[in-house]
Amino acid sequence: MAAPPELAEPTTTVKTEPVISVRRLWKVFGPKAERVPGSPELSALSRRELMDKTGCTAAVRGIDFDIAPGEVFVVMGLSGSGKSTLVRCLTRLIEPTAGEMVFEGEDILAADPRRLRELRRSKFSMVFQHFGLLPHRRVIDNVCYGLEIRGVRKADRLERAQEVIDLVGLGGCERSYPDQLSGGMQQRVGLARALAGDPDVLLFDEPFSALDPLIRRDMQNEVIRLHREVGKTMVFITHDLSEALKLGDRILIMRDGKAVQSGTGEELVGAPADDYVRDFVRDVPRADVLTLKWIMRPARPDDVLDGPEFGPHVVVREAVRAVLAADRPVKVVRDGELLGVVGHEEILASVAGEG
């Protein structure tokens, strides 16, 4: 039997120094919005009540999170949950109403316009849902745009643009105009434009929602590949749970501007914080997401404990064959310590979606 693959330790908090650290972030739209976050009474109101009472809409309500270097951090929620506002607050495309945002030790909210532009030019890049390409420029000039406004010399920026165009698989389309390309190809241009400036952090605002399912899958794989190759920190906004589970190291679920739960995919599926999340993850094929530690049970005295051994972070799907082939329960072991066992019953319940 092949040795079970060991997965990384699941993380709920970032252990290394975070790239981005956000605390008590609020964004309220409307008249005299700034009074809402400070007032315990107003900030406790529901969205509807707040609207009736003050005429304000709270899009983001006291969000906290940390993002580790090189991590893919997914913010997921339905439309109107405030996720797009949240990602725009990170580079102050939308000015937050209250809170703290620290990027590489620097307070972003304290940055003056010039410093903010510098950050946008060199540290952050964003990919948009509807691409946001310049229709009057060719692909290569679109990719150059960020470098051009930084004042990079023409020869240098064309060279760099050609590099990223090849990186995202757009080679041959350099001279086309955006409206001559399919949606998927256009979003590759958006991706190339974001990569051209070699930013530390890539922000994706529902980049694939406007694409066909098949193309969406290609583009998701493209992002996974790019993440492997360039290793950027990524913040990814989506309303699609399967996309979140596929891409995200960690996922933050938002509802009505609030964070409902954050954690790895298996934490969300295995231990939903409330009915809202439970409802969300109901249709997820659990065996694909959960690891053995979520379905194991404590060993009983009558268990025969000489079956095959697995680590706790082996995905259920990968252990199904081994468990069913064995005539005794499979042991879940970490560092020689027996954590629990998994038998036919547990594995079947999980595959059938009941566990």
């Binding site: 532009r117 948009f128 849902q129 310049l134 051009e148 930084r150 434009r193």
Partner: protein
């Protein structure tokens, strides 16, 4: 309880339709009784104290023109600058100058430049007809007049763009400024072209400077509006993407917003040029040189042949200017799709060679007389004028039973009764009716505006003339709307018809209002009816297009559902499409009224009488100056009243 009370409340309040009919009936009854009382009529040469006061004011201004500091350091300076500029442009292409017997650039040079510029901004398919069109102006024997018109138009457009493009950009970027300037532009555009002229002559005197300033005022709004609109409708995503990459406001403006708005801005420039041409021809009334003057003079002597020849020249120039600027707007689109390197190379070669040839042609035209002055012996102008006169004579002798019949029937059945109703009623009775109608079909606000406008109309001392003009306006608008609904529904329902008719309508709208007078003068002679027909032809295209677009924008699902329910075509039109397009109908009425009003005034030249005549007479006779100015104000008041009323009705229908 409430459920029972509700129907009774509804039953007790008669519907607006019933109230409207009741108001009209009451008016008719009282009219019969009180007819001829308090009509406030004023003879053609009679003046009120107000008119005298304006005359005196004008005289005082004239006397103080060179001592009053406001004039000395402000108005006179503006006038001087504009005058210098216009004179310079005229010296280049139109008038003898720089100690030469001919302008700096003669006909050959101008034709070559027109062809070359047209090719540069568009393509040869536009360039050849443009050059041919300008050569034709020379053949008509109207070269110098045409160049005067062109010089004035171009001067006005250049000055107008100098400030309207920055203003448009500002309005595009700033919500506050946009809110501030929109009502101003609305007002500038709803005012009939004519009325700019009178107050401007008060300040800037009669002549090319006033004409150019009036043209600038009239032609600037489209460029401001289109520029602002183009910048505002740049895709939000793209602007945000640019910001997210760290672009400064300036970079976003120059690299994202302006390129995205380019097409719209060029369209705005096109509108500005067409408006300028239209105004320059009308400005002939305040002694602006050019083709307009030829038309006005010919109209005043009823010389249809000459008027036709000059009118044709205006049309040719309008078509050339329109085609070239429209093609310039479309070119950016097409050129970028054509990525073949050879065609760019060919184009570059043609541009260089053509440029050299153009320079040679310009040099010829400044050096040799044959290239400077259009050879008079090849003129076809007299032939055209002769042919037009012959046709007119033939029509007037042979078709007069038909044309005269139509004219008499419409005049007897529609115009006369309505005019009698309006002008022979006591002014307060009619005013009460108008206020009541405003309240019923518009809103309380519209009623207030109407009341204010009516009182001010009484104040101008031209109540009876204003009512006569109102009668013509109503008749013309009714015909425009009848045409608008019939043709508009046809176009809206039939793609083929739309494709055939729309270019004609577009062309009709770009023509200066002036030229419509000529053919109808030939057909019907000078009369109120002639002015009305010209107004209908001028106003119908816009009404037709608005109705057609309204019909087309009715949701296809609704039409499909109605068809599936077994509606006949007639039922479909009357029960689904027209009711759902009723906002478009009221909008069409609004636009139709404004266009008609601006034209019924121009019709003063061909016998429309009333306010139009007062204005025209005011320009030509010093003692009628005050009355003419008051008539201009009266037209604005009518315009504001009708505009607010129909807009209120449109809002109600939404």
């Amino acid at each position: 309880m409430t459920a029972l009370a509700l129907p009774r409340v509804l039953a007790r309040r008669p519907s607006r339709g019933v109230l409207l009919i009741a108001a009209l009936a009451a008016f008719l009854v009282l009219w019969v009784v009180l007819r001829g009382l308090h009509t406030l009529s004023l003879g053609a040469s009679q003046l009120t104290p107000l008119h005298h006061a304006v005359n005196d004011f004008n005289d005082a201004l004239g006397a103080g023109r060179n001592t009053n500091p406001l004039f000395l350091y402000f108005f006179n300076e503006i006038r001087l600058v504009v005058d210098e500029f216009v004179t310079f442009v005229q010296a280049v292409i139109a008038q003898p100058a720089f100690g030469r017997p001919v302008p700096l650039i003669g006909w050959l040079g101008v034709v070559a430049i027109v062809g070359y510029v047209s090719y540069a901004v568009a393509n040869w398919r536009v360039a050849l007809p443009a050059a041919a069109g300008f050569a034709f102006l020379g053949l008509q024997g109207l070269w110098q007049e045409s160049m005067d018109t062109l010089a004035l138009t171009l001067s006005a457009v250049v000055i107008a763009l100098l400030f309207s493009l920055p203003l448009g950009i500002w309005a595009g970027l700033s919500d506050r400024f946009n809110r501030l300037i929109t009502p101003v532009l609305d007002f500038m555009q709803t005012m009939p072209t004519f009325v700019y002229l009178a107050p401007l002559t008060l300040i800037f005197l009669i002549g090319p400077a006033s004409a150019t300033i009036a043209t600038i005022v009239y032609a600037a709004p489209p460029a401001i509006r289109f520029t602002a609109h183009g910048i505002r409708s740049a895709p939000h995503d793209t602007v945000e993407a640019s910001e997210s990459l760290g672009a400064t406001r300036r970079q976003t403006l120059v690299k994202v917003l302006l390129p995205a708005a380019k097409r719209t801005i060029v369209l705005g420039i096109n509108q500005t040029i067409m408006a300028a041409l239209s105004m320059v021809t009308i400005a002939a009334l305040i002694d602006a040189p050019g083709l307009g003057k030829t038309v006005v003079k010919a109209l005043q002597t009823l010389d249809v042949g000459t008027a036709f020849n000059a009118g044709l020249a205006i049309v040719v120039m309008a078509i050339v200017l329109d085609r070239v600027t429209t093609a310039a707007g479309a070119r950016a689109e097409r050129a970028r799709l054509d990525t073949r390197p050879t065609s760019t190379l060919v184009r570059r070669v043609v541009l260089i060679v053509g440029g050299a040839l153009t320079l040679v042609a310009v040099w010829f035209s400044t050096t040799y007389l044959w290239a400077a002055e259009f050879p008079p012996d090849v003129s076809v102008g007299p032939a055209i004028a002769q042919a037009a006169t012959t046709v007119t004579d033939w029509v007037q002798t042979n078709l007069s039973p038909v044309t005269g019949g139509i004219k008499d029937v419409v005049t007897l059945v529609l115009i006369d009764p309505l005019q009698m109703l309006l002008t022979e009623s006591p002014w307060w009775l009619l005013a009460a009716l108008v206020v009541a109608v405003s309240a019923l079909i518009g809103s309380a606000r519209a009623a207030l505006v109407s009341a204010a406008c009516l009182l001010l109309l009484v104040g101008t001392g031209l109540w009876a003339d204003a009512m006569a003009t109102l009668a013509s306006t109503i008749v013309a608008t009714a015909i425009v709307m009848a045409l608008g609904v019939v043709v508009g529904v046809w176009m809206g329902r039939n793609q083929m018809v739309d494709r055939v008719l729309r270019p004609g309508l577009d062309a009709g709208q770009t023509m200066p209002a002036f030229v419509y007078l000529v053919p109808f003068l030939a057909l019907f002679g000078a009369s109120r009816f002639t002015a009305i027909v010209a107004a209908v032809v001028f106003a119908a295209p816009v009404a037709i297009k608005v109705v057609a677009d309204g019909i087309r924008s009715v949701s296809p699902t609704t039409v499909e559902a109605a068809t599936a329910a077994g509606s006949s075509t007639w039922q479909l039109i009357t029960k689904v499409q027209l009711p759902m397009a009723r906002h478009a109908l009221t909008l069409a009425t609004n636009q139709g009224l404004i266009y008609v009003l601006s034209m019924v005034v121009v019709g003063g030249l061909v016998g429309a009488g009333a306010l139009g005549y007062d204005v025209v007479a005011g320009f030509s006779q010093a003692q009628l100056y005050g009355k003419g100015l008051a008539a201009g104000v009266a037209i604005v008041l009518l315009g504001v009243m009708l505009d607010r009323l129909t807009q209120a009705a449109a809002r109600r229908s939404q």
